[in-house]
Symmetry: C2
Subunit: 214 residues, 2 copies
C-alpha cells in the first residue's frame, strides 16, 4: 500500500508546495507544537485552507475533526510521499563559485541528500577536497557515479558546457538533473530535468514588479 | 500603446517560459539566423507549436504566413515585454559562498541587470570588494539602496536571518525579492517574492525520479 501511495502521480502544483509544507511542519515540531488545525497551518503558510486540505488529501493525510493534524505525522507523511525517507546520493558538476557553494550547502542532510561526488575539468581543481568529497575529473564520471551510487546530479557549469555535461551524466546512468545553466537541455525520454535559472527568475521578477508597481 | 502592452498581465506559465524563448532566440541570432517558423522554434525549444504561438500572441507578436517570425523582432519583443529594455539595479544580500557566487555571476549584463549593492553583517566582509562593488553593512541598506537605485534584491543568507533581511529590504523601499533561503517570507501587500529553493527542487526531483523510474 505504501508503495502505491508513493508512486501515485501528484499534480505538479501540489508537488511544488510539499517542500514548503514540510519545512513549516519541521519548524512547528522543533517549536514543540504537537497538533495544528488546517486553518492555522494554512494561515501560517499563506495558502488557502481548502487548497492545503486538497493537497494533503492526495497523500491520504487526513486531519481529525476537532483535533486537527498531528504535526509529526504530517511531516513524516510528506517526507515519505516525496521519497525522502531513504538516502539520495548526489553529484555536483562544476566546481566554480556556484558549484562550490552548492557543494558546501549544509541543508542537504535533513532531506537525506548526500553529496557523494563532485566533478570538474580543471586539473587545478581535480583531486582537491570540498568538505569531505574529492573533486573528480568529469571523464571519471562513469566509475565514480557507479561507485558512489549517484542518482541526482546538479549541473553548475557555464552554459556552453551544460549539454556536454548532461550527456555525460546520462551516459553514466544518472536520470535526474537539476540544471543551473540558463539553457534548455536535450535529454532522452525517461530523464528528468528541472531548471534553476537565476537569470530567468530575475527577469520574471522584473516583469512582475512593473505589473505590480507600475 | 507600448505601455499598455507591457503592463498587460500574462499568465504565470507563459511568463515563466519567456526567458527560455528569449535565450533560444539570442542563440539563433548569434548563429546568424534571421527568420524562424513557429514549428521549428517550438521543436528547438521542446514545447508544443500551439503553445508557443499562444504565448507569443499574448505579447502581440505574430509571425508572417510562409515567412515565420523575425528572430531579432521576436527577441526584442520578449525583452520589452519582460521589461528588460531598461537597467535594473540589483542588490545581493549575504556574502557567503552562495552570495559571492551570485555577485560574481557574469550573465546579468545581457538582461540589463546590474549589481549595485552587496550587503552582509560580518565586519570582516564589510568594506571588501566583489568585482567592483564594495560590501556594505546591512544597517546601511536604506542609504545605499537609495543612492544606487536598487529595485530587486536577492536574499542569500541563512534561513534564520532571511525574514529579518526581507524586512530590512522592504523598509529600505525594495519591493521585489528573490529568496534563496528555504523559508516562506511574510511581506506586506505589493511586495513580490520569488523563491529559489535548491532543497525544494531536489526534493521534487527525487519524487519525480521515483514516479518515473520506480
Amino acid at each position: 500500500v505504501e508503495g502505491i501511495a508513493r508512486q501515485r502521480i501528484l499534480p505538479l502544483e501540489t508537488l511544488s508546495r510539499l517542500p514548503v509544507y514540510r519545512q513549516k511542519l519541521r519548524q512547528l515540531r522543533e517549536d514543540g507544537v504537537d497538533t495544528v488545525s488546517s486553518l492555522e497551518l494554512a494561515k501560517q503558510l499563506g495558502v488557502g485552507d481548502a487548497q492545503l486540505r486538497r493537497d494533503l488529501s492526495y497523500l491520504r493525510l487526513l486531519g481529525r475533526p476537532g483535533r486537527g493534524y498531528g504535526v509529526r505525522h504530517l511531516e513524516e507523511g510528506i517526507t515519505r510521499a516525496l521519497g525522502l525517507d531513504r538516502r539520495w546520493p548526489l553529484a555536483i558538476v562544476g566546481c566554480g563559485s556556484l558549484g562550490t557553494a552548492l557543494a558546501r550547502y549544509e541543508g542537504y542532510a535533513r532531506d537525506n541528500l548526500v553529496v557523494t561526488a563532485i566533478f570538474d575539468i580543471d586539473p587545478a581543481k581535480v583531486g582537491k577536497k570540498v568538505r569531505s568529497v574529492t573533486v573528480s575529473h568529469i571523464d571519471e564520471a562513469p566509475r565514480v557515479i557507479a561507485e558512489t551510487g549517484v542518482e541526482l546530479a546538479v549541473i553548475a557549469v557555464p552554459s556552453s558546457a551544460a549539454q556536454h555535461v548532461a550527456d555525460a551524466m546520462v551516459r553514466a546512468g544518472v536520470t535526474a538533473l537539476l540544471n543551473f545553466a540558463p539553457v534548455a537541455l536535450a535529454v532522452p525520454a525517461g530523464v528528468i530535468v528541472r531548471q534553476m535559472d537565476i537569470s530567468a527568475e530575475l527577469q520574471i521578477l522584473a516583469h512582475l514588479k512593473i505589473v505590480e508597481n507600475g
